[in-house]
């Protein structure tokens, strides 16, 4: 990935071609496979639950019409869950890929650097003070403000092209602070149940969310996706260094602002509904990066799709792990993600030597 300047009338596309290591499979094939997996997991998610419902019943209740018990279960309980697993997962995968592209840092991930943690804090404040009960939109907005503060703080603390260590340390600090304040806010609630909900916020879950959560979060997430997905070319150009990117006509300030705001919108709205689901934004982009020839631009879309696949699969798996209150989703993603994180650190150490 050594930057080369080349004279051309359409520089960006040429650079992309030069930069590209040979991907093993075609981009559209990869997108197709991931999309197919999402559809498959969507239906699997509708079929998985304590009440057994046949595939035929699922299809007929999706078509709507009859108001039966099965219809209520599918439409009001399982459908929002299946949708949120896809949208929250896509958000985390996409935000991970975008942050890694912008910060030029393989460990930039919404959970690791504290963006999810601060989003949870913002949502917790809105929810437990009762503000979101009066004004529902306050819940995702609280998450977005929290996420925004975190991204700006991380940017201020670590900066662009900082060392991997600085970024991770800044993330540890922001995360610890957010977790402490979240715990404090929950402990201060007079409702004894609130203190137990620390598990929900720090480990994430999609159990028993409703369609109103979908309506609240989806538009804001989509807005964030649009901002992030349109950053492809800018992120490609950034791999050549800031000066080159600037000479190619990209306004660095605007690029930074757009990634920061896009991340805050999508991650803030997602975490406000699901709690913190860690490591998705780390694992997915890393697995997919070689498959798109190490191009940050192409990585955005496939990471979003891959995040949806991983989160949907994990959210189906948690329903079968134990009886009673189900396992928190973040536990499963951390079980997958943390060893992966360690593996990445070893890789980075090898490269540094």
């Amino acid at each position: 990935m050594t930057p080369k300047s080349s004279p051309s009338s359409s520089p960006v596309s040429i650079i992309i071609d030069e930069n590209a290591a040979k991907p093993r499979i075609g981009f559209s094939l990869l997108v197709g496979i991931l999309s197919f997996l999402i559809v498959l997991l969507f239906f699997a998610s509708l079929a998985a639950g304590p009440v057994s419902i046949s595939f035929f019943q699922i299809l007929s209740s999706l078509k709507g019409g009859d108001q039966s018990l099965i219809h209520i279960i599918i439409e009001q309980i399982r459908l929002p869950r299946a949708i949120l697993a896809i949208t929250v997962g896509a958000t985390l995968g996409l935000a991970g890929a975008a942050l890694q592209g912008l910060l030029q840092n393989p460990l930039a991930e919404p959970g690791l650097i504290g963006v999810s943690g601060c989003a949870a804090l913002g949502a917790v404040i809105m929810f437990y003070t009762g503000i979101s009960a009066v004004f529902a939109l306050a819940l995702p907005l609280g998450g977005i403000v929290g996420a925004l503060i975190a991204v700006v703080a991380i940017y201020g603390l670590a900066g662009r092209e900082s060392s991997i260590l600085t970024l991770v340390l800044a993330g540890v600090a922001v995360n610890a602070f957010a977790a402490a304040l979240t715990t404090l806010a929950l402990s201060l609630s007079p409702n004894p149940y609130a203190a137990f909900e620390i598990f929900f916020w720090l480990l994430g879950s999609l159990a028993d969310r409703s369609l109103s959560h979908v309506y609240l979060s989806l538009p804001l997430m989509v807005l964030g996706w649009v901002l992030l997905l349109s950053m492809g070319r800018a992120l490609d150009a950034l791999t050549l260094g800031e000066d080159t990117a600037r000479s190619l006509g990209f306004n660095l300030g605007r690029v930074q602002a757009q990634v920061v705001i896009g991340t805050a919108l999508a991650v803030g709205a997602a975490v406000a509904i699901s709690g913190i689901i860690g490591f998705v934004g780390l694992v997915v982009p890393h697995l997919l990066r070689p498959l798109v020839g190490y191009q940050p631009g192409k990585l955005l879309l496939v990471s979003a799709l891959g995040g949806a696949v991983l989160t949907s699969a994990a959210d189906i798996a948690v329903r079968f792990v134990m009886n009673g209150p189900e396992l928190k989703l973040g536990v499963l993603t951390a079980l997958i993600g943390a060893p992966f994180f360690l593996y990445l650190i070893l890789q980075i150490r090898k490269e540094m030597r």
């Binding site: 639950g49 304590p50 009440v51 108001q67 039966s68 018990l69 099965i70 209520i72 279960i73 009001q76 309980i77 399982r78 929810f127 437990y128 009762g130 979101s132 009960a133 609630s189 007079p190 409702n191 004894p192 149940y193 609130a194 137990f196 909900e197 929900f200 028993d208 409703s210 369609l211 109103s212 009673g324 209150p325």
Partner: protein
Amino acid sequence: MVKAFRFCCLAISMAFAAPALNAAEKPQRIASLNVCTDQLVLALAQRSRIASITFLAVNPDTSYYHQQAQNIPINYGTAEEILGIKPDLIVAGSYTTPATTALLRKLGHRVELFAPDDSLKQMRTNIKRMASLLGEVQKGQQLIRDMDIRLAGVAQTGRKPVAVIFRANGFTMGRHSLINDILTIAGFRHLSAEMSMARAGFLPLEKMIAADPALIIFGKYKPEHPSIAHQLLEHPALSMLLALRASGKKRDSIVIPSNLWNCGGPFIVEAVEKLAQKRKALLKAEVSP
């Protein structure tokens, strides 16, 4: 060392416990360490004899006799608080404050433990035992008699609709619970018991909807302070289920204040009567839709 400790215990027990024995049947400084023993003490003993009750006894969410409990010194279940008030009888739950009660016994106090009221039978046993400990045997008999008269007035004939209790987080009570007996005596079938849940557990929302009970009894605790646990009770799937009009079946919901049946006591009659009334309305609505 052990000897010295024993001697110490003996000395303390003589200092504290001896007056209790001398005062014959009626203890004069009663301390209660559990919200359910609070209820029985408040129902049976004169106020002047109650030296300490738990902080939950003054809370209307958890205690039926919260008004009678005002201005009685409260404790948080620690040994220090209890030692300070020099009680001659300590009543406590058999599970709730094991470390405290063990310590108080070691120090020579008379501690009487009460099993949780997990059935109407256990509740009667507890009332009788508490009455005799407090030297109020007659009052205890009177309480049970009054209760039985009112319970006998609750009609049980006719169809038995299915009811379920659904608390924050989907927590529900099983076959071996006071609530199970209360539902049965009010003329209901109990969903969780029929799902062979033993004592208590979590009922997944969709499983409850598939079972389609006629009556959902919501249990809330401080719902004015938001929690995700209570958000479940407002899930749109529940209101859709209750609004369902298929096959002429009538469905309804009710909130029974938790202080009416979390503990056993004369007040459970109120819970039974509220439920029996609801059942009457349900059956009537099914006959003439």
